[in-house]
Amino acid sequence: MLDNPEGYVTEDGRKIGGVVMEMKNITLRFGGVVAIKDISFDIREGEIRAIIGPNGAGKSSMLNVISGFYVPQEGEVWFHGAKRPQMRPFEVAQQGIARTFQNIALFEGMSVLDNVMTGRLSFMKTNILQQAMWKGKAEAEEVENREAVEKIIDFLEIQHIRKTPVARLPYGLKKRVELARALAAEPKLLLLDEPMAGMNVEEKEDMSRFILDVNDEFGTTIALIEHDMGVVMDLSDRVVVMDYGKKIGDGTPDEVRNNQEVIDAYLGVSHD
């Protein structure tokens, strides 16, 4: 079922489409350190794809390769059926890829609303001069974008902090604001770098629900890195497991859970 190139239907009735992104034999080195060793996997349209692994397994490096921030020394990234050239960040955004960061990267002094509005940047067509003049085109554009942002604020239930400066928010809410900003860009592919790190059980449950709802409501393809095995297994359709830069497992949560190599990696068998 999972091998069907046309896609498949999940147990809960979601339609998963064909491959949108394919990583082919990726190797990434930092000087002498090999962060990623010859890894291949794909991401299908509409699925929640998780990358898991112990500390230092190379998960974040992998996400940075997907987002185009790191360029692998070997291997190719195929996006929508074409080999992807080296790109600058704004070009990545224009392709419909948005992400959140492990160590929250928001504008601390700005309000939640303004932070989320920055996610709409690629939809703004007016120039500085028009925006300074304000009346007319720039105003209409702002109203239009504000509407889109308000829908996301409503969706993520952060109305009560709309005007609050981000610096004053607790950690769990900052994570949610980051997700809001990423969603504001209306991504086709959403990359989440440890969305639940440092959260308590209740916050994790909230975040899981939001991730599922985003996928369900907007049909967004989601690739996420996560530490918390339980969360990942509940959320994702397919899981890639990494350890010491290598791929040691790939498949549905059940397949991965019963994979001996994965069990060893998590229970800590000596690597020699």
Binding site: R146, E150, I153, F155, H160, D213, D216, E217
Partner: protein, 663 residues
């Protein structure tokens, strides 16, 4: 208007209006362009006029017919205050069904009883969370034919064979109106003044909830009388944020709103209530004392952070307001100089403060449900905010007594509301009779008979007396909570608890001592106030539990208890109720754990049973007690917390001999 004429009118409905759908029709015809509902959504106040609301409600009613709602069916409504939920209730009435609003924060287990009891076949849910609960309930009750939901988020994957979005059946209803118009008009025309208008479950401090059946007569007469009492007009604006399952919200947001034709404003979410309050600036407002307490605490905290000049100005003018503000509001004589100074204060302090609180346009408002601290009450009144008290019950369609303008005091609950008769029986229990007296408890003739007698008098279960000099009612306590100490003197826990709760540091108190020789107490600290104090004084804490057990916190609470003991000792009847020993509890009393009702009243018997070990320790003289308590999380799972609590001895004032009550 003479009494005879009023009586004549009530035979056929007030001013010919027999039901809420009839009032809706009148409002849409007479002032269709005036705003009827506002809801903040997507950062903007969305508005519906009376004509638009009438069209929406009619479409919903047609949709209800389409899914097969029969006359007499019960439709449960579970959700936060949103126009769509209010419309569902009126639409249900149009098709002859009975709306049953339920508390949305109740866990599935609690809700199952109520659903089963009323036999609801249709349920309107606010969102996915409520739908999940209803599906869980359905596995036990197997009676629900159709679930409707307002918020579509997360609902895509559900089996929709017996489930629809409210918007969708509304659209289908208006599309198929040709088929159902005649039937709907027939059903609307068939509604009589004595048909059931709504069924509301009382949370009950003891036992299972009871379904109070209120007729159109109850609701419309009560709305009319109370609207006349406070001269409410269609220019009022109210903020609807209190639970929809509570009788007060039904009367304010539907009964009075439809009778007067004023606008109901719904906040964006529960968390934005304070911001929305400020944006709307209601002219008519209702809140339990807790809301006013919280706001006052916040004001005081923020004033401590303000600059020196502002602080001095605030305290100077507040002192003046305390002196003359209340008198001015009551229309009592005040000297010219004081008036001028008050006007200046209004310009510099009171006006801006009221605006910040959202009370800039406040014309009349009530607090009820619990006693309000006299200082808190006077604070608001001195600012020129016409805050009053009322005493009411679900069984009375809210109103039993109300304070008229100019006769407002912190320690009474006012004179009998229009058309209400009051009597106190020989045991001190308050009884009333009025057009608002409920029809019956649904499927519970025994309880109905023990509460309402053949002549229509209802026992409130509260003990009180009518003050001879003013004719105002004063409440002592729940009649069943009033007891006797071992030496025969009166034990009235609420009297002492309220005195303690008036300290901002203290959120909740439970006093024990019935049948004992001395009183002991459980205390909950207020996390906002004490947390702020801790921050200011560099007291580090990691959890509620740790802060609650901090030695300096205990010291502060002890000083409050000592002051209260002094004041209690001065009361000749209740001087025996001084607190000898107390603990600060390691958890907040919570409705999810059954320790409080959904309207946040302590369930004394339950608490006593649950924490029996702590009570024993309070009486046997031990210095501390280790205990484990079961807690329920929001999703219904259970866990437990353990703690070692310090027991504190409080200084008491020796009382030689006190009068023995009721000999």
């Amino acid at each position: 208007m003479g009494r005879r004429k009023r009586l004549a009118q009530t035979q056929s409905g007030a001013e010919g209006m027999m039901s809420l759908p009839a009032l809706l029709h009148r409002n849409a015809a007479q002032f269709g362009d005036a705003p009827a509902y506002r809801e903040k959504e997507f950062g903007i106040w969305q508005c519906w006029t009376w004509s638009e609301a009438a069209a929406e409600i009619r479409a919903l009613a047609l949709g209800f017919l389409e899914i097969g709602v029969e006359k007499g069916d019960h439709i449960a409504v579970i959700g936060r205050n949103r126009p769509a939920h209010y419309w569902s209730m009126v639409a249900a009435q149009m098709v002859g069904a009975i709306p049953v609003p339920l508390y949305q924060d109740a866990v599935a287990e609690e809700m199952t009883y109520v659903m089963e009891h009323c036999g609801a076949k249709y349920v309107v849910c606010g969102d996915q969370e409520q739908v999940d609960k209803v599906i869980e309930i359905q596995e036990k009750v197997h009676q629900i034919k159709h679930i409707l939901y307002t918020d579509k988020r997360g609902m895509r994957k559900y089996d929709h064979s017996q489930m629809n979005a409210l918007d969708d059946i509304k659209a289908e209803g208006s599309a198929g109106h040709a088929r159902f118009d005649a039937e709907l008009d027939k059903r609307i025309a068939a509604i009589t003044y004595d048909d059931t208008c709504v069924m509301l479950y009382t949370s009950g401090t003891t036992g299972k909830p009871k379904g109070v059946v209120l007729s159109n007569r109850n609701v419309i007469e009560s709305a009319k009388n109370s609207a006349e009492f406070d001269r409410l007009s269609r220019n009022e604006d109210i903020l609807s944020y209190l639970p929809m399952a509570w009788v007060g919200d039904f009367i304010f947001s539907i009964g009075q709103a439809y009778w007067c034709g004023f606008c109901v404003n719904c906040p964006e979410s529960a968390d934005t209530m304070m911001t929305d309050l400020r944006e709307i600036g209601p002219t008519y407002f209702f809140a339990p004392p807790r809301v006013f307490e919280t706001q006052l605490t916040n004001v005081m905290i923020r004033m401590e952070d303000a600059g020196k000049l502002k602080q001095r100005m605030f305290h100077h003018f507040m002192a003046h307001a305390k002196k003359v503000g209340g008198l001015l509001l009551d229309g009592k004589p005040v000297g010219f100089g004081d008036r001028m100074k008050y006007a200046l204060g209004n310009l510099l302090v009171y006006g801006p403060l009221k605006d910040t609180l959202g009370y800039g346009r406040f014309r009349v408002g009530y607090t009820a449900g619990e006693a309000i601290g006299p200082e808190i009450f006077d604070f608001y009144r001195s600012l020129g905010i016409n805050l009053k008290q009322l005493y009411g019950q679900t069984e009375a369609t809210v109103f039993i007594t109300q304070q008229p303008d100019g006769e407002v005091r912190a320690d009474t609950v006012g004179v009998p509301a229009p058309a209400v008769e009051l009597k106190i029986d020989d045991k001190g229990e308050i009884h009333y009779r009025s057009p608002g007296v409920f029809v019956e408890y649904y499927n519970n003739p025994d309880s109905t008979a023990s509460t309402k007698d053949a002549e229509g008098w209802v026992a409130t279960g509260d003990a009180g007396f009518i003050e001879e000099s003013s004719g105002h009612l004063r409440i002592i306590d729940r009649a069943k909570d009033v007891g006797k100490m071992a030496d025969g003197s009166m034990f009235a826990p609420k009297y002492v608890e309220n005195k303690l709760k008036f300290y901002p540091d203290i959120l909740e108190v439970v006093l024990f001592g019935n049948g004992k020789d001395r009183c002991v107490a459980f205390i909950n600290i207020d996390l906002t106030a004490v947390g702020n104090w801790a921050e200011r004084n560099n007291v580090a804490y990691a959890s509620y539990q740790e802060l609650a057990g901090h030695p300096r916190v205990l010291e502060t609470i002890k000083s409050h208890v000592e002051e209260v003991n002094k004041s209690v000792a001065a009361d000749e009847i209740l001087s025996g109720c001084q607190v000898h020993r107390f603990v600060v509890l390691h958890k907040e009393l919570d409705a999810d754990d059954g320790e409080m009702t959904r309207t946040r009243k302590v369930r004394r018997g339950f608490v006593e049973e649950k924490f029996q070990d702590i009570i024993d320790a309070l009486y046997d003289g031990s210095a501390q007690i280790s205990t484990t308590t079961e807690v329920t999380y929001e999703d219904g799972r259970k866990g437990s917390i353990s703690a070692t609590l310090q027991i504190v001895d409080a200084p008491v004032v020796p009382v030689g001999q006190h009068k023995v009550a009721a000999e």
